[in-house]
């Protein structure tokens, strides 16, 4: 009997030991793009937001499908048309031991939109909202108009400490002295261009992370990143190039994780100029902009073989798109399918529109922004050339591209006629693309900021605006779906496919793929 106990104790000891050995593991992750700062409010940018999620929590977290989950707030609900009440989580401490309470929330909301030198602030999400402290664990957010997207907006803003963070500068965060949050990991070191190291926060309020230490290394060149994983220098990489997926799938030592993202790749067509600069007759002479004609736009959409793009260009790692967000997201339509490939029908439509011999144009696109962006542009040009629209391809670095695409013409309007772009819905629901890509361009109201084709339809605008005022989720969902259907029917935009992201890890590790494309250490689990 006694012996059994000893053995049990020994077994328990071994078990405890193995657990502690396992949990004392270090994880090295190779990132495709490097965050520009550890100040969570400095630059509202994907890699920065992903990194800040390790150290800082939000009031509301987004899970891997961007559904809203309680974070530092345990509940949030509108108590009247203009006020949302947030109940805060009690007993949470910052890495330095100080307690989290309403003061931290109020000072965060003040600092986040207004960080000195910030190239992209969080003002977008906090505009028109005032945080009022009711008691230590209750905060009211007051708006001037009914605002249904409160939860989505606040799920993007990292909460910092009013004692160490709110008065700190960006340099203090980068040096680590102010990088003190409530998140699952604590700052250890930051060497720009080389590494970011964090250690586990043992007092974390949520599920304890499996890794005692995490090192992030920026490896921006795709093949080098894959090589680093194969050489065993890193445990996991983000942004696996589509070209390497087949080989990695066949490698026993590597395990892939894939997931559809919130990013749609689409085409915008000049619909506001009588003579579009990059559309001409085949002999080069000026013609009236054919892209104004909905039949021509339909023909273009029908001429695009989306399955070929997915299979050949994206090597099967993408999903053909018929609307602005993949299924499963809030506000998508259940009635929309990707437009079927029909080159003959496209030719007939072109002839009906008065272009039996087609015309000539140029497709412009970036070559370093989206997965295989330049190759997609080229494939589309091939397909359009086949139905008689002689299409030239011009791709350029994003640094040159976006400026010209947004306001490159002499009068400050979009320069190009036919462009390839992508849109990731940061809020995880359909109002984001509808508001920016489909709504009539209106600088004063902040609508249509990225509507580079300038499609304009007052009826769609009205539906979008109504949706943005509707607090009732079911009604809003229907309105967003309706607006999407109207936009697709008008061919305001031509979606081609949804990006699918791929992570690769050593066998034994698995990444829980996220639609927001973030790479998070807490998402790396052991099989």
């Amino acid at each position: 009997m006694k012996k059994t106990t000893t053995m049990l104790a020994a077994a328990a000891g071994v078990l405890a030991l193995s657990v502690s050995v396992a949990s004392a593991e270090k994880l090295v992750i190779g990132l495709a793009s490097e965050p520009t700062s550890l100040d969570p409010h400095f630059h509202n940018l994907g890699p920065n937001n992903a990194m800040s999620l390790h150290i800082f929590d939000r009031l509301i977290n987004q899970d891997e499908k961007q559904r809203l989950m309680p974070g530092l707030a345990v509940s949030w609900e509108p108590i009247d048309d203009l006020t949302w009440e947030f109940k805060l989580r009690e007993g949470v401490t910052f890495h330095d031991g100080s307690a989290f309470n309403a003061d931290d929330v109020v000072c965060t909301v003040e600092r986040a939109p207004d960080v000195p030198n910030s190239p992209a602030s969080f003002g977008t999400y906090l505009k028109g909202k005032t945080a009022v402290k009711i008691d230590d664990y209750t905060v009211h957010f007051v708006t001037e108009e009914p605002y249904p997207l409160m939860g989505n907006d606040l799920s993007t803003v990292p909460i910092i400490s009013d004692e160490t963070g709110c008065s700190a500068s960006t340099e203090d965060f980068n040096a680590g002295t102010a990088a003190i949050g409530t998140g699952p990991f604590m700052f250890e070191s930051y060497t720009p261009g080389d590494s970011i190291v964090m250690s586990r926060n043992d007092g974390y309020w949520g599920d304890a992370p499996a890794w005692s230490e995490v090192e992030f290394r920026p490896l921006t060149s795709g093949p080098s990143r894959v090589a680093a994983l194969l050489a065993g220098d890193v445990d996991m990489i983000a942004g696996v190039p589509t070209t390497d997926i087949t080989t990695l799938e066949g490698n026993d030592e590597i395990q892939l994780s894939q997931g559809v993202s919130n990013r749609v790749i689409y085409l915008h067509m000049d619909q506001f100029r009588e003579n579009s600069p990059f559309v001409t007759a085949k002999d080069g002479s000026e013609i009236t902009n054919p892209l104004m004609d909905v039949r021509v736009r339909q023909a273009i959409s029908m001429a695009i073989n989306r399955d070929a793009i997915v299979e050949r260009v994206m090597e099967g790692v993408a999903i053909s798109a018929g609307q602005l967000l993949p299924e499963g997201f809030f506000g998508v339509s259940e009635n929309l399918e990707p437009v079927a490939y029909d080159p003959e029908g496209a030719k007939a439509l072109l002839a009906e529109a008065g272009y039996p011999d087609g015309f000539a144009m140029t497709i412009h696109g970036p070559n370093d922004r989206y997965i295989n962006d330049a190759k997609i542009a080229e494939a589309i040009a091939q397909m359009l050339t086949r139905i008689g629209i002689e299409t030239a391809v011009e791709t350029m670095p994003r640094s040159v591209y976006f400026g010209r695409a947004s306001r490159g013409s002499p009068d400050g309007l979009p320069e190009f006629s036919f462009i390839l772009v992508g849109w990731g819905a940061g809020s995880g629901e359909a109002s984001s693309p509808l508001k920016s890509l489909i709504h009539t361009h209106n600088a004063d109201a902040g609508f249509g900021a990225s509507n580079r084709g300038r499609h304009s339809d007052p009826e769609i605008d009205a539906v979008i605006e109504e949706a943005l005022r509707t607090v009732d989720d079911a009604k809003r969902q229907d309105l967003l779906a309706k607006a999407t259907e109207m936009a697709i029917e008008n061919v305001a935009i031509i979606p081609t496919h949804f990006q699918v992201n791929t992570w690769a890890a050593k066998t034994g590790l698995r990444y829980i793929a996220r639609t927001d494309e973030y790479t998070l250490a807490i998402g790396v689990v052991k099989d």
Partner: protein
């Protein structure tokens, strides 16, 4: 050549009394390696020139390129029926056709930029070395200024202002390279100018252009050819690098460099042919240029004469 044979009764012994060109040819052909390289280079040039007539596909005509033909291994049959002996790249271009068309572009870019840069650099370098004084100081400061510009930035700026295109790439390469020639020529000429024979020539009252072109320039040729072959080769490489950085030539009309840069991402994927074949073509081209250049240098250099 015909003249020589008619003039002399025994062509076999004609080598004893020969024109400078004949001597030059004979000396050049002494090296079998150089001869082979010259043959190879000529073959490459002929293939490049004849590309439109001997390739099964016009890789620049998007109506002939089909993405459904993409990434096929060597020997596969294309949709249009012909065999792709070297396989196809990601966009569905037949690699054999694409390489020959790419050679045309790469060679013209390399040669055009090399010749222009050499001409400018040589003129500037000689001017600096020969005039000395303030002119030299100003010129050399400009050379310094030029050399401190990374080629990538020059190219990116030019591309942003002028748009992508062969002329712009050539311009960027010339801007990036002329200073190397200028510096080399000036360095050598500086030494030559102070040698006795030049001083003697000056005393004899020979004109400056005559001294420069007849005496100083020939002596600068050896280092110039070394730098010239290195630079022409690196012009072709640099164009590939620019493409790798995303600011090279348009990808629908790929040069050899663009093909290699595109193939770069396939290097770990097992589809070796996409970057290896264009790489091999580049290698053969550059190596043959260099071997020919080496031999030229040995033959042209008066001080290496036995």
């Amino acid at each position: 050549m015909t003249d020589a044979t008619t003039e002399y009764p025994a062509p076999g012994v004609a080598a004893k009394v020969e024109t400078p060109f004949q001597r030059f040819t004979a000396e050049f052909l002494e090296s079998r390696v150089a001869t082979a390289a010259l043959m190879l280079l000529l073959l490459i040039i002929v293939l490049a020139v004849l590309a439109p007539w001997i390739t099964p596909q016009d890789p620049y005509d998007l109506a002939q390129v089909d993405v459904l033909d993409g990434r096929l291994p060597p020997g596969s049959e294309a949709f249009a029926g012909y065999t792709m002996w070297l396989g196809s790249d990601g966009a569905g271009r037949d690699l054999f056709s694409a390489i020959l068309y790419g050679l045309r572009i790469s060679l013209s870019v390399g040669v055009a930029s090399g010749v222009i840069a050499l001409t400018i650099g040589m003129a500037v370098g000689l001017l600096a070395a020969y005039t000395g004084g303030r002119t030299e100081a100003v010129i050399m400061r400009v050379v310094d200024l030029q050399l401190s510009f990374p080629a990538a930035l020059v190219a990116l700026m030019l591309v942003a202002i002028l748009g992508k295109g062969i002329e712009n790439i050539i311009l960027a390469l010339v801007v990036a390279q002329w200073a190397y020639y200028a510096r080399t020529v000036r360095g050598t000429a500086l030494v030559e100018r102070r040698k006795e024979y030049v001083e003697a020539a000056a005393c004899l009252g020979l004109s400056s252009p005559r001294i420069i072109f007849r005496h100083i320039l020939p002596n600068c040729l050896a280092p110039l050819i070394v730098v010239g072959t290195v630079q022409t080769a690196s012009a072709i490489s640099l164009e590939a690098t620019l493409s790798f950085l995303g600011v090279g030539l348009p990808q629908t009309e790929p040069s050899l460099g663009v093909l290699i840069a595109n193939g770069f991402e396939y290097m770990l994927s097992g589809r070796y042919w996409i970057s290896v074949f264009p790489g091999l073509a580049l290698l053969l081209t550059v190596v043959s240029i260099n071997l020919v250049g080496d031999q030229l240098r040995d033959v042209l250099n008066p001080r290496l004469k036995k």
